[in-house]
């Protein structure tokens, strides 16, 4: 069934978009990630302008992280104080993200920057995850206890000033790395149309030593808040959020996520992590190929975006 999108200004097959939302939702439920890094490229691939795709997926992430955060809230596994600190940084990062997004669109370099960021971050994180989980599985098979990774205590983090106590996470650390992480994820998430959970979760665990029980819930609250701010800012300064497209993706996404979560509970943790790593790596490689091979059509058209500030 064809449906005309008012902002993207083209008709799409409603069931195809719904299916995309559901498929990505399934994977996000399975792996416990937002799935924005899959959904944005899929939309661009199906003919929606990158600017509209990025901004619209931002609002879809609000819906999927809201339903996730709600579940963790019921289980009381959210560190609200930590989430608030991350969110404060996230909002700042989002503002920068929208500004840079607009600037890059004006000078016509948005696509290549998005491509490069996907290659660097997805490629890097995907590679790390695959290597980590393969090493873990090999260690288990060899019956040698997994080498207790000598975590160098990250003394530089603990030496930073402005220490804050986070009771829920049993942490007493400086606010600087938390805010910095929030800024970074907010900036990147807004620019790339992703939630950034796949960067946030490892960072919280390995860098800040947040207990795994509260990591996902806390990161979901941060993503929810950041992406909500990003949606409003994108709508306000770029007019590129398509609410009709967003609604179809949201409904597909939240339904798919439920089934994904059910399947995910039956798989082993390290297997899931290896699969997710491969998936992230694959998307990164796909973007790398697009950047490197000779394009069939070297020309591209874009409407003139005035350089004036919003």
């Amino acid at each position: 069934m064809q449906l005309y999108l008012p902002i993207a200004e083209l008709p799409v097959n409603m069931f195809m978009i719904f299916g995309m939302g559901a498929a990505v939702g399934f994977l996000s439920g399975l792996f416990g990630v937002g799935g924005g890094f899959l959904l944005t490229p899929l939309l661009v691939f199906s003919g929606i302008q990158p600017a509209v795709a990025v901004a619209t997926v931002t609002s879809q992430i609000v819906a999927s992280s809201a339903s996730g955060a709600l579940a963790y809230w019921r289980r009381k596994s959210i560190d609200w104080k930590l989430a608030l600190f991350l969110l404060a940084g996230g909002v700042v990062g989002t503002v920068f993200g929208v500004l840079v997004f607009r600037l890059l669109r004006t000078i016509g370099q948005l696509d290549v920057v998005i491509g490069l960021c996907y290659v660097v971050f997805l490629g890097g994180i995907g590679m790390l995850m695959v290597v980590e989980s393969v090493r873990f599985m090999l260690a288990q098979r060899g019956a040698t206890p997994p080498e207790p990774r000598k975590l160098r205590q990250h003394s530089w983090i603990h030496g930073l000033p402005f220490k804050v106590r986070f009771q829920r996470s049993r942490l007493y650390i400086s606010a600087i790395p938390i805010l910095a992480l929030g800024v970074f994820i907010g900036f990147l998430g807004t620019l790339l149309g992703i939630g950034g959970g796949f960067i946030m979760v490892p960072a919280l665990i390995y860098l800040l030593k947040v207990p795994t029980t509260v990591v996902i819930g806390t990161s979901l609250v941060q993503i929810l808040g950041t992406m909500a701010v990003a949606t409003v800012l994108q709508a306000y300064s770029n007019q590129s959020v398509d609410a009709v497209l967003a609604l179809i993706l949201m409904v597909g996404g939240v339904i798919g996520a439920q089934f994904g979560a059910q399947v995910g509970s039956r798989l082993r943790g390290e297997q899931l992590r290896a699969l997710l790593g491969l998936l992230i790596l694959a998307v990164g490689v796909r973007f790398a190929v697009d950047l490197v091979i000779t394009p069939q059509e070297p020309f591209s058209l874009a409407p003139l975006v005035s350089g004036a500030a919003p």
């Binding site: 949606t231 709508a235 609410a243 003139l304």
Partner: protein, 260 residues
Amino acid sequence: MRALQAAIVLAGAILACIPAARAETLVVATSTGTVNIASNFSGTDITVFGSIERDRATVSRASEYQIAVQVFGPGETVVTRRKQRGFGVWVNRDSRTYVDVPSFYAALTTGTIDQIGPPETLRRFQVGLEHLILPERSTGSPDDPAPGDPDFRAGFLRLKLHAGLYRELPGAVTFLSPTLFRATIPLPANVPVGQFRIQVGLFQEGVSLAQHTSAVVVSKTGFEQFMFDLAFTRPLLYGLGTVVLALLTGWFAGIIFRRD
């Protein structure tokens, strides 16, 4: 003296009228004056009917009439960029800005475009993609290609053709009788919104005998128009509304699929 002046003006006016009275005139009607884009829009057609009116004084001519129906969409300013390899990666480098070019263009003709007339005539009435005027503006950067760069023009036209927004349809104007003709203009699903100019030209032996211009408005209606207006005139409200919609969807899903 004044009477003489008046007489000269009158005589001049009569003289000026004579060729017009002797030539053909065009009477044109379009099937619709407005095209409405609703949620189920997936492209449409506009049919143009025309009649060649002749009076007794019209000299009968041996060769056939040629009709060109041209559709110009609302003007838009488009940046055309070319990718080049830099540090192993393909990056947009030089660009040309086409100013106020038609966002949509279609040329429907009775025969081929060459049959309409010589290149001068085609250029004058912008018949065919080859003769479309594309005003350019440079970004001022010294790296930019020279104005009128044929590669950029070809790239621009190729992308527009590929998107179905520029078309040449030779043979799409059909004569129902020696003086009555019809043309069906296909508008694709991604048609731009705004005022379209439909220019019908009557040619014979490479000479324009008559031109007629009419307008068709393409606009979104109802819900589509409402959403579009909201997004552009009340962007803050639109953004907040989208977030509320997302929160409600997420919350609702959380309730429906609650597993405990």
